[in-house]
């Protein structure tokens, strides 16, 4: 009963979400407003997917769900009817001798049930294998590879163009992919096991230290798809989400070209920005990289184009200047246990760093 009510809620929620996704402007400014836009939706729902890989699994999932509900209802109804339909013995005081019998004729039901379940199970097993074969590899070869490194508790992404090694760059927590094209994903871990999961596009693939797992993604419509770590990986497993932006191919190409650029040099007039850059390199550069500066750490996300992202701290907070300041001032408050320490950054320092970061478009 409640399952049905829940399912109804879900399906009704979906078209609304799709409409919102379709309305999303591609510009970064509007993206900042995304969490608000998606609030009513269910971004991690996977009985409706938006790409070649997810789509073949959805009918199988619905089929299995349908079979399950049918079996549950059938058995429950049989139990209830069996109890209600007839001869009832009233329990007397303890120890009263009650009738005992052994009516026959039940065995055909058992054999029938056995055959029916075997047929259903073999059918679904065959369907399963067929779908497995389909999702194993994309229909066409992928144009490029994203090497995703899972680590406590964020995602690093390295874009690799096999034809042109110089077009490689690193970003974090927000992936972009071109609509309608399969993308090859290589998964490695820097510490413990994580699991890479974008439910609206694909099932999970574990990210395991000491081995390279591979998967692929394809989105067939523009939009933002939420992903999240699905293997328990420690204190902040709950805040290890990411986003996949499916862009029009032209927008995607532009985005890639933009990401390749180093960060802009602070203008000579912008004293505060220049001070911020200095402070950033000093205080943050051991862990974070901004290409074009001497900040080259890789323990934390690459921030070269931070302002292109809609969120910070692995989609824990929206990327607004207020949240950014709060995060830098006290990461442990926002994400207890996160690897980014509280650095006791003074007010003026914070203002400078924040102002500098705001220029990393």
């Amino acid at each position: 009963m409640s399952a049905r009510r829940g399912a109804w809620r879900v399906t009704r929620g979906l078209p609304r979400r799709r409409a919102r996704l379709a309305r999303l402007p591609a510009t970064a400014v509007a993206m900042v407003a995304l969490p608000a836009a998606a609030r009513a939706g269910t971004p991690m729902y996977y009985l409706k997917t938006f790409g070649a890989k997810g789509n073949v699994s959805v009918p199988l999932l619905w089929g299995l769900l349908g079979l399950s509900v049918f079996v549950i209802l059938a058995v429950s109804i049989l139990v209830v009817i069996g109890i209600a339909r007839g001869r009832r013995v009233r329990a007397g005081p303890p120890g009263m001798i009650l009738p005992v019998g052994r009516s026959s004729g039940a065995m055909p039901w058992i054999y029938g049930g056995l055959v029916a379940s075997a047929v259903a199970l073999i059918g679904f097993a065959s369907w399963t294998i067929a779908v497995m074969a389909t999702i194993d590899q994309p229909g066409r070869p992928a144009a490029f590879t994203i090497e995703v490194t899972g680590q406590q508790w964020w995602w690093q992404a390295r874009y690799v163009d096999p034809k042109n090694p110089s077009r490689e760059f690193v970003t974090a927590n927000e992936l972009h992919i071109p609509v309608g094209k399969p993308v090859h994903i290589k998964l490695v871990s820097r510490d413990v096991i994580h699991s890479f999961w974008v439910p609206a596009l694909s099932g999970k693939t574990d990210v395991i230290p000491g081995q390279v797992n591979e998967t692929w993604l394809e989105a067939d419509r523009k939009g933002v798809y939420r992903g999240q770590c699905a293997e328990y990986c420690g204190a902040q497993h709950a805040h290890m989400a990411f986003r996949v932006f499916a862009d029009a191919p032209d927008d995607f190409a532009k985005w890639w070209n933009h990401e390749l650029q180093p960060a802009p040099q602070p203008a000579a007039s912008a004293k505060l920005v220049a001070l911020g850059e200095q402070q950033f390199v000093l205080r943050c550069g051991a862990c974070h990289a901004v290409r074009g500066t001497s900040a080259g750490g890789d323990r934390g996300p690459d921030l070269t184009h931070l302002m292109d992202r809609t969120s910070i701290a692995a989609v824990t907070l929206p990327n607004t200047i207020g949240h950014l300041s709060g995060w830098i001032a006290d990461p442990q408050q926002n994400k207890p246990g996160a690897k980014m320490p509280n650095l006791d950054i003074s007010g003026p320092e914070l203002t400078a760093i924040r102002t500098y970061l705001a220029t990393l478009k």
Partner: protein, 648 residues
């Protein structure tokens, strides 16, 4: 009468007050603290298992309720992430290891000799030892809360997060050593059940006359002998990696994190069957009593039980579909995971057919058993869904799997157990449980459970990953989580009412008499509660339902429970042959003995020494264990282990 050193001719007789007095004096546990520590009475041990398992159930339940408060709404801050991680880990460990199997061991310990028509288990002292080590290992793991370092990597405890670089505290050491310790308990318990079934049966109780619950427990006990070493080893290697720098799971020295998953699931998937097959056995034996007929398809149900256990060893990889396993291997394990459903389906159809072709008695146990069937099917079909690789890649590690495991653990294990408690309570205590309170508790548990866990499937379909301590508000998980929290509290209130029923009925329940339900098996042939020696004369059986056979016209000859072999020359019971249960020997059973307890104390000291790395303490305890073992096993004339003793 000639003095015989190695054999004697037992006589058959009917019970007399003098015989009962003599047996009582022989078998009774001495009062006082010594008797409490030293008792080897399987009934006392069985009750201890049940009570201890329920205490752990309550502890695990409280952990669950606290977590449900944290998850009731988005971004709650009732718990810190570290607290939450310890709670969900201990909740799983508690329910899966410290409740689910021990509660079934409680039933089996209490009922095995009674169902089989014997006087005790094959190894009474080992039986006491298995209880003490279970209790000690449970307390060992729970003591981690005292220093705020409870296990924090979930019950399946994946490496490398469980390794020292990521988990430097004692948390994992408590779990690793605690599970090795606990493994001793399950292993000796399992060995005891298997030998008891093979050796301690009433004459005539051939294997095709064994109650299904016996089959269930025996099957899983054999399974445990196969599976348990995997987890003990997995945890031992983990502990070695942590303490001695070995490289089993540690990538740096060539270790493989997936080795942990293979070893763990080689054990843990069979374990799922270990904690449900005996519960299914309880239902298969007790449900027919309330349908006033024998179980339909006895033989098929037993074959199904055994097949399930065997196949259960061939599906462990379905917990690892997302780990990058080769395609062919995944297809095989996916197929096997579908097929394993078929034997369970047999049981479901057998129960339904039993209800349909029987005459139903609507007593509280029946309510639990009837509900059990539906819950069983829900837990079963959601399991089938995860057998399908593409579906599983979405479903795994979401709340869908959490819902699934709760339908298995609560729906199958707890519903069977609660029905079993209502059913056998009169045998345990001599008093009936209150039907009125029983029905209130049933409805609260049934409604609360389904309100909590049916919507949880939807939570999973909405993509909520498991083991997250909180969630944002814009992902659509708020309402379903609130419903689950409400349901969890209704469920808890039902458990509370059940516990009240136990306390009230024990004090002032209606007198039960030997066979209140007019049930067919041997445990109902003796008084309630049974005397320390179970049966004044050894019963012999000629059918599957000794107390119904006149009315069912089954078997060859007649069972004899009122007249049988008199074994009163010390603590004696009958040994019978494995298949046909023909009498082959008279076994001498041990007196109460403090050594099982003392060896457990030494083991506890030893494991504590290993935990805090006081090696001398571990070494000293090992010496104590060896000495204790030698004293325990010292050949004794009264047990017929030594030359030169005379009998008769």
């Amino acid at each position: 009468m000639a003095v015989a050193e190695y054999e004697k001719l037992p006589r058959a007789d009917v019970p007399s007050p003098a015989l009962e007095k003599k047996l009582h004096d022989l078998w009774e546990t001495k009062p006082g603290i010594f008797g409490w520590i030293a008792t080897v009475d399987h009934k006392e041990i069985g009750i201890r298992y049940l009570v201890t398992a329920f205490v752990f159930l309550i502890a695990g339940g409280i952990e669950a309720l606290v977590m449900r408060l944290q998850l009731a709404g988005p971004n709650e801050t009732i718990l810190t992430p570290t607290e939450y991680d310890q709670l969900f880990s201990m909740h799983g460990i508690t329910m899966i290891f410290l409740y689910a199997l021990p509660v079934l061991s409680g039933f089996s310990n209490y009922l095995f000799p009674l169902l089989l028509g014997s006087r005790d288990m094959a190894f009474p002292r080992l039986n006491a030892f298995s209880y003490w080590t279970f209790l000690a290992s449970g307390l060992f793991m729970y003591s981690s809360f005292l220093i705020g370092s409870a296990p924090n990597d979930g019950w399946f405890n994946y490496a490398p997060y469980a390794l020292k670089p990521f988990n430097p505290g004692l948390n994992m050491d408590f779990y690793a050593l605690g599970m090795i310790f606990y493994g001793i308990s399950t292993t000796v318990g399992a060995a005891n059940f298997v030998v008891t079934v093979m050796r301690h049966r009433a004459p005539g109780m051939s294997i095709n006359r064994l109650p299904i619950m016996i089959w269930g427990t025996t099957t899983i006990s054999v399974g445990l002998l196969f599976a348990n070493p995997a987890v003990s080893l997995a945890f031992f290697l983990l502990w070695m990696d942590r303490q001695f720098g070995t490289h089993f799971y540690d990538v740096a020295g060539g270790g493989k994190p997936l080795l942990w998953q293979h070893l763990f699931w080689l054990f843990a998937h069979p374990w799922v069957y270990v904690i449900v097959l005996p519960a299914m056995g309880i239902v298969s034996d007790a449900l027919p009593v309330f349908c006033r007929r024998p179980l339909v398809a006895y033989t098929l149900v037993i074959l199904g039980t055994i097949t399930t256990m065997v196949l259960g060893f061939g599906v462990w990889v379905h917990h690892m579909f997302a780990t990058g396993i080769p395609f062919l291997s995944m297809s095989f394990f996916s197929g096997a995971s579908f097929i394993i459903t078929i034997p369970s389906a047999v049981a479901v159809f057998a129960w339904i057919a039993t209800i349909w072709t029987g005459e139903v008695v609507l007593a509280t146990p029946f309510y639990f058993f009837a509900a059990f069937i539906s819950m069983f099917v829900i837990g079963g079909v959601s399991g089938v869904m995860t057998a399908s690789v593409p579906a599983d890649l979405q479903l795994t590690d979401t709340y869908f799997v959490v819902a699934h495991i709760h339908y298995v653990l609560i729906g199958i294990n707890l519903f069977g157990v609660l029905g079993g408690v209502h059913f056998w309570f009169p045998k345990f205590t001599g008093k009936m449980m209150s039907e009125a309170i029983g029905k209130v508790s049933f409805w609260l548990i049934f409604v609360g459970f389904n309100v909590a866990f049916l919507p949880m499937h939807v939570t999973g379909l909405l993509g909520m990953p498991r083991r997250i301590y909180t969630y944002p508000e814009n992902v659509g998980w708020t309402t379903v989580n609130m419903i689950t929290t409400v349901g969890a509290f209704i469920l808890a209130s039902g458990i509370l009412v059940f516990l009240v029923n136990v306390v009230v009925s024990r004090r002032s329940g209606v007198e039960a008499g030997p066979n209140p339900w007019d049930a067919p098996t041997l445990e109902w042939a003796t008084s309630s509660p049974p005397p320390p020696y179970n049966f004044p004369v050894m019963p012999a059986v000629a059918s599957r339902h000794p107390l119904w056979e006149d009315r069912l016209d089954e078997g060859t000859g007649h069972s004899s429970v009122l007249r049988g072999l008199v074994l009163d020359d010390g603590k004696e019971t009958l040994a019978t042959s494995v298949l046909d249960a023909t009498p082959v020997a008279i076994l001498k059973m041990p007196e109460d003995d403090p050594w099982p307890f003392l060896v457990t104390v030494a083991l506890t000291v030893g494991f504590t020494g290993l935990l805090i790395q006081w090696w001398w303490m571990g070494g000293g305890a090992a010496i104590a264990v060896v000495i204790g073992g030698i004293v325990w096993l010292w050949p004794r004339a009264d047990l017929g282990q030594k030359a030169g003793a005379a009998y008769e």
